[in-house]
Amino acid sequence: MTPFELAQPASLAEAIALLDPNDTAIRPIAGGTALMLMMKMGLYEPQKLISLRGIEPRYSEVAATADGGLRIGAVTPLRQLEMLPVVAERAPVIAHTMRRLSNVRVRNVARLGGHLAHGDPHLDLPPVLIALGATLAIAGPNGERTIAVEDLFQGYLETALAPDELIVEVNVPAAAAHTAYLKHTTRSADDWPALGIAVALDMQGDSVSGARVAIGAATDTPRRLTSVEAALQGEALSDAAINRAGEAAAAEAEVHSDARGSAAYKRELIRVFTGRTIRQATGREA
């Protein structure tokens, strides 16, 4: 790693002021787990890093909202999402996802904002938050704006954030009744996923009244699988319906071969795991 300057502002406003819209050698740093890897490999040589760890404590807090959801500060360590009872209560799928997200050392250090802003498709929470319909509050020199999590991801390591914008908050609406996230790793158990599927379903009687399904890791960006959502709508989740959902997922997702597996294998995984995630969400036997 080569030398750089570290700024430690005490407020969000200061942090934003330290960023430069035209200079990518200046960047925010949250947990640093992603940035340090890139710096060690020589892929990124910053001049100056702006640490967010010292900004106002509210950006590291998790609060229950009046509508039954959660407001999560962007500097909240992932470990908090794992441990706080309010998360397990309001969005159990988030707490559950944490348990197999990398390892406890990474979860202690990594922050939700860094996790999202990194724009790496091989992360676990993006599909979960997309399936939950979460939104982001983004702050910049001209004030705040709100976007859906699914609109953040523009390409591999590319996001909708300007260089002088920061994610400040993640807002998760009240979760659907049936949610699940399943991941599959192919190189070691704590590897970044080769595939993640998140499902959020509402049921009316025996049939699906609302479905949000998202995929991560296997595709260029985490994204919704709208054909799967459509295939599930109004269905009673028979084996046949679940298989159709799996086929739809495999057909819709654009996948590529890489070190985690061939495209052909990933399509098979998508088919199988879409079904398994739906079953898991609705308490059906796999």
Binding site: T2, P3, K40, E45, N103, S188, D190, G261, A264, E268
Partner: protein
Amino acid sequence: MAETSTTTVGQSYGRLEGHAKVTGRADYIYNLRLPSMLHAKIHRSPIGHGRINSIDVSAAAAMPGVHMVVTGEDVKTVLPEPYYGPAFHDQPILALDKVRHFGEPVAAVLAADPHIAERAARLIVVDYEELPAVYDEIEALDSEAIVHEELKPAGTFADLKHLSGRRDTNVALDFHLRLGDADKAFAEAVHVFEHTFRTQQTMHTPFEPIVAIADVTHDRAIIHSSTQSPSFVRYELSRLLGWPESNVRVRTGHLGGGFGAKVYVKVEALALALSMLAHRPVRVAQTMEEQFYTITKHPSTFRIRSAVDDDGRIVGRKCEVWWNGGAYADIGPRVTQKSGFTAAGPYDIENIDIDSFALYTNRPPAGALRGFGIPQLVWAYESHTDIIARELGIDPIVFRKRNILRDGRPQAVGTIVKDGEFEPVLDETARRLGWDRPYDKGEGAKRRGRGVAIGFKASISPTTSSAIVSVNADGSVIVYCSTVDMGQGSDTAMAQIAAEVLDIPLDRIRVVNPDTDVTPYDMSTLGSRSTFHMGHAVRLAAADAKEKLVAMAEEVGMPEGSNAPLPELFIKKFGMRAGTIVGTANFKPDYAPTDPETGLSPNATPFWMIGATGAEVEVDTETGQFTILRMINVCDVGKPINPAVVETQLSGAAVMQLGFTTTERMILENGQLTNPSLADYKVPGIFDMPVIMENGMIEAEQHNGPFGAKGAGESGTFGVSPAIANAIEDAVGVRIAEMPITAEAIFRALRAKDGAPLEED
């Protein structure tokens, strides 16, 4: 040695260095800093094979804070023949004329601030003319690409002399063994089987990376190194310098792992050259990432054929093994030979051909890694053996037992087996697996299966260990030996041996960290040789000291057999608490060299190491993902000096091999390593461990071992890979012939078996 009852030997004492390690006080060379020291950072080759047209260091040299930039030509000004290597003098300290692998050191930058050195190293511009490259060991046999135009065997080994000057070949060494008449056996055989198995390139990943600090003055070179081979490093550096060995001092601390990555010369020669050029102490400390360019485990291809008779007896075996040694031979040729002669497996087979080839390719160099080639061989011969048993409809355990080597029978190399507990190891593995009980293989998507495998290894021979045991006037004792404790617990074992012989408590014994100015010669800490060889040397040195104490007691008129405390004895002799009694010993076991024609030897090894694994797996047939439900490692461990330490050696070795079996793989694309970091090179984590793991020890007296002991640091690796492959075949009926065993490979094999092969992409 006759069986004797012991008090200290055979007890599970905690490790002597345990407290220092858990409190963060153990002395690792990686943590060492010297006054006025410079840090070196290395500029490495971005290509697999190419001629160096020019090196432009101007931008790097101009960077503020840079002390000096050094190229291979600069090294020549202080060391005119800057090539090193234990078997071949083929490796330049920094690349000269050519680069031969991705990541090869081309230039070094020195600075007081390592970050400045790193940034400057990136500013070096090298113009290459790319040459055709070869990465596969089979293609290397007749490729247009030639890695070394001429072979340069080290003069020290008589058996390599004939290779000198050989040109335009990538075959660094070929080893051949001919026992009986294999051609005839195959011609007459009822059944003939042939399979080919492959293994991938992996790395040791010691958690203390490779590091050396050199501090050279006009007639003295001091090297602080995390080496497993202080004596060899001293020898090799003194050869490069043309200095007597007494002018070179190599010292080490505790090692944060070695596993073979730190044997022979690694960064010491570079540190030496840089310190000579800079006239300052220079630290060359690799990152975890850089180790992938430095030393690895041989990829291999093994074609194995067996001739089997109607009774399920293996009557002939032909083994062809190709070892991918990468760009520099390191100790690869020895792997080819010394492991090569066990390639037919632990079976009593009368007709054997073995052909084992060490190949140069444009991969990062391969050398010794826990098992020294044995795991690659066992992967093939135990997969093959299992397939034969299944195809003949014979229970795999029964089939193995029908053919297993037994005491009194010659192993393929012609050495009669003594104290080799092959059958008990196999029996114990089967017993713990519950082999003769019915097994529920499951139904639906999840299927279960069981497998076993057994492998063995000879100790590298002949090798020498020397030790000094000195008794202080207060009765405490210091053991001087150059065995390096890299986590295997050797200090504790050596102390236990000295304590046993001298009959004093363990806490009165200190084992000195290797330092060639202080501790005497040892061949190296490798190949599970230390307990046997250094164990003997320490035992004999302690006995020598004891004899001198007895003589001293006699001299001062103490009655024979008196057990007067030692301090009293010293006071009687020297009039006060003064003086030292020093015992010394050299140990070298008997050995007979292998015949150059037949490859046979009546005494190729002082002892045999034997290890088996039993595995139970569950395969998810919808994804190919598998879980190891149970892994049982059973080894012949002789009489353990410290049973608790030995058990951790078995489990550690097995877990390490589990990584090489399932998760670890260096990926080369166009000669470039795409995953040289722990982020993308996957060492198994806790969730990759078997649900249940058991370690079983067959404790059996090794007749010629110190207190009946033998080496056990690698035995746990032997059976792991094929046991898992065999269990997978038992579960779902597909055979994986190439490591690592991945979920996708299993899934593809399942689809192929169902007649619906998955497309390539």
